[in-house]
């Protein structure tokens, strides 16, 4: 599964587990309006680390925090595993 699809399916799983209603997941979606809260994002980052073997937020000293879903996916796509 591609990184993008992995991220999308994890977001859907977490939203279901946490009973969150999420907005349509397109690249321009602002994360702040996605329907996920910070605990959901924390879970997402931990799950992705387990699945992809990488955590771009701690992998480098210079991390910019993504604001849209597209940027979030890009962060993972550009992070060396």
């Amino acid at each position: 599964m591609s990184i993008r699809l992995t991220i999308i399916s994890q977001i859907e799983n977490i939203a279901a587990e946490q009973s969150k209603k999420i907005a349509p997941l397109d690249d321009s979606l602002l994360l702040s309006q996605s329907g996920l809260d910070s605990l959901c994002f924390a879970i997402l980052v931990a799950r992705l680390e387990d699945i992809l073997g990488t955590d771009p937020f701690t992998a480098s000293d210079e991390v910019y925090f993504p604001t849209t879903l597209g940027e979030f996916v890009e962060l993972y796509e550009h992070c060396p595993a």
Partner: protein, 459 residues
């Protein structure tokens, strides 16, 4: 220090209990018939009024030294057997140790002091009667980081929770604790007071060996931490034991372990005791349920319990009196209460332990006691035990991670992902969302420290 002569010494106590016996796995025995007539500590007379570290390797030798030196040395310093030379050196300085008793004059203790040998065979050396002293018993508290902290007890404070011998047949005890830890020392003293047999555990002995020895001796009373008990229940031979009395202390006794013990030993009285090296034995819970009745709080009497800032405070003659060698630390507050650092939640008429103040995990500013999450996971029927810890997370600081040991019968037959899902659902139904584990891992076993407690990073 109280200078009045003691009402009794340990040796005096045992002398009037002819059926007192200690048994080790190698078959060595210490019984009251030899006490008083034989001396084991060589050069004993030179230890009168001294501060003495008991550095014995074996529990039996340590017991001999405790019995001979109580009332004779000014201070007995008792450390668990796994203390490193660095920790021992710190203890020796803090307790101003004059001499060390041990089995072998070549042993090394981190800081050089004259060594006195505890012989394995007693001699009929003339016992020098000295003025009886109210010996101070120094024990390190059970925290595992930083230099050890010593607290001072007396034989009286240590015996405070122990009732006199009853008329019935004397019990046959065993404990998974080493008798040089507070929980084990309590059982050793119980055996002394009751004139009972105590089968000592041994780090070198297998659990199967220990169980076989319990059967041979007809053990009726067993004590250990909840982690000790979980380890026993994971051994198929636990079904051979038929204890009358099952005692838990040293960790939170959750509903899962209490019900598992009731199921395994339907004829036994299952009792959990709240005790710590600093706070002494607070109380025993005999109704078989987790937590304790809130009616114990705020009662005036010998044991006074208060809930302050969420933490249990105790004032009683069984608490230690002070820290020793650390002027910067105060054990009791102005009113004489000891803050145990054990956090409580009161729900209606029951109080529940949530965990240690120092072990808290911070999930995005919300505080989580690992023990609270473990209690829920452990209540899931297929789980034997669990350990919850923090996992660093770039979004909210820490998240909750769980390691789980399954019950033996389910361990190999289940679909792991389905089981994880079920346990998570079980947690979600019972815990606020920030407390639900984010990651979960099945492991074959969890480390239990020599103290009998689950190994935690922040212990």
């Amino acid at each position: 220090m109280n200078t009045a002569p003691p009402e009794t010494t340990l040796e005096g106590l045992i002398r009037s209990r002819p059926r007192f016996r200690l048994e080790t796995c190698s078959g060595a025995v210490l019984g009251s018939e030899v006490l008083g007539s034989l001396t084991y500590v060589g050069g004993l007379s030179r230890l009168a009024g001294k501060s003495v570290l008991i550095g014995a390797k074996s529990q039996l030798a340590a017991a001999r030294a405790m019995i001979e030196l109580d009332g004779f040395a000014a201070r007995l310093v008792i450390c668990p057997p796994d203390f490193s030379p660095e920790r021992l050196a710190s203890v020796i300085e803090q307790a101003r140790v004059d001499a060390i008793v041990c089995e072998d004059s070549r042993m090394v203790f981190g800081s050089a002091r004259p060594l006195f040998v505890i012989e394995s065979a007693g001699t009929r050396e003339e016992r020098i009667e000295s003025p009886r002293l109210r010996t101070q018993w120094l024990l390190p508290t059970s925290g595992t980081t930083g230099p050890p902290k010593l607290v001072a007890h007396s034989l009286n404070s240590l015996l405070g929770a122990i009732k006199g011998a009853s008329n019935g047949p004397s019990p046959v005890w065993t404990t998974f604790y080493d008798i040089r830890r507070y929980g084990g020392l309590q059982i050793f003293l119980r055996a002394c007071v009751a004139g009972a047999t105590l089968a000592l555990s041994d780090a070198e002995e297998s659990l199967d060996g220990h169980i076989a020895r319990c059967l041979r001796l007809g053990v009726t009373h067993i004590s250990g931490t909840p982690s000790h008990w979980r380890r026993l229940l994971m051994n198929p031979n636990h079904v051979l034991l038929e204890p009358e009395y099952v005692r838990l202390s040293g960790e939170i006794a959750d509903r899962a372990i209490l019900s598992a013990l009731r199921e395994a030993y339907p004829k036994a009285r299952v009792v959990h005791a709240y005790a710590s090296t600093e706070g002494g034995v607070g109380f025993e819970v005999t109704d078989g349920m987790e937590g304790f009745p809130a009616s114990l709080l705020d009662v005036e009497g010998e044991i006074e319990l208060r809930l302050r800032d969420g933490s249990l405070h105790i004032r009683s003659p069984r608490t230690a009196t002070s820290y020793v060698g650390r002027d910067d630390l105060q054990l009791r507050d102005k009113e004489g209460f000891v803050d145990t650092g054990d956090m409580l939640e009161r729900i209606g008429e029951r109080c529940f332990f949530k965990g240690r103040r120092t072990g808290v995990i911070n999930v995005g500013g919300l505080k989580v006691h690992p023990e609270e999450v473990e209690q829920v996971i452990n209540a899931y029927e297929k789980v034997r035990m669990s350990r919850v810890g923090a996992r660093r997370n770039p979004i909210i600081g820490d998240i909750i991670a769980a390691e789980i040991v399954l019950r033996e019968e389910t361990a190999t037959t289940e679909d792991e992902d389905a089981l994880k899902h079920d346990i998570l659902e079980f947690c979600r139904a019972r815990l606020p969302r920030h407390m639900v584990p984010v990651t979960m891992r099945f492991v074959p076993a969890l480390d239990v420290l020599a103290s009998g407690k689950l190994a935690r990073r922040h212990a």
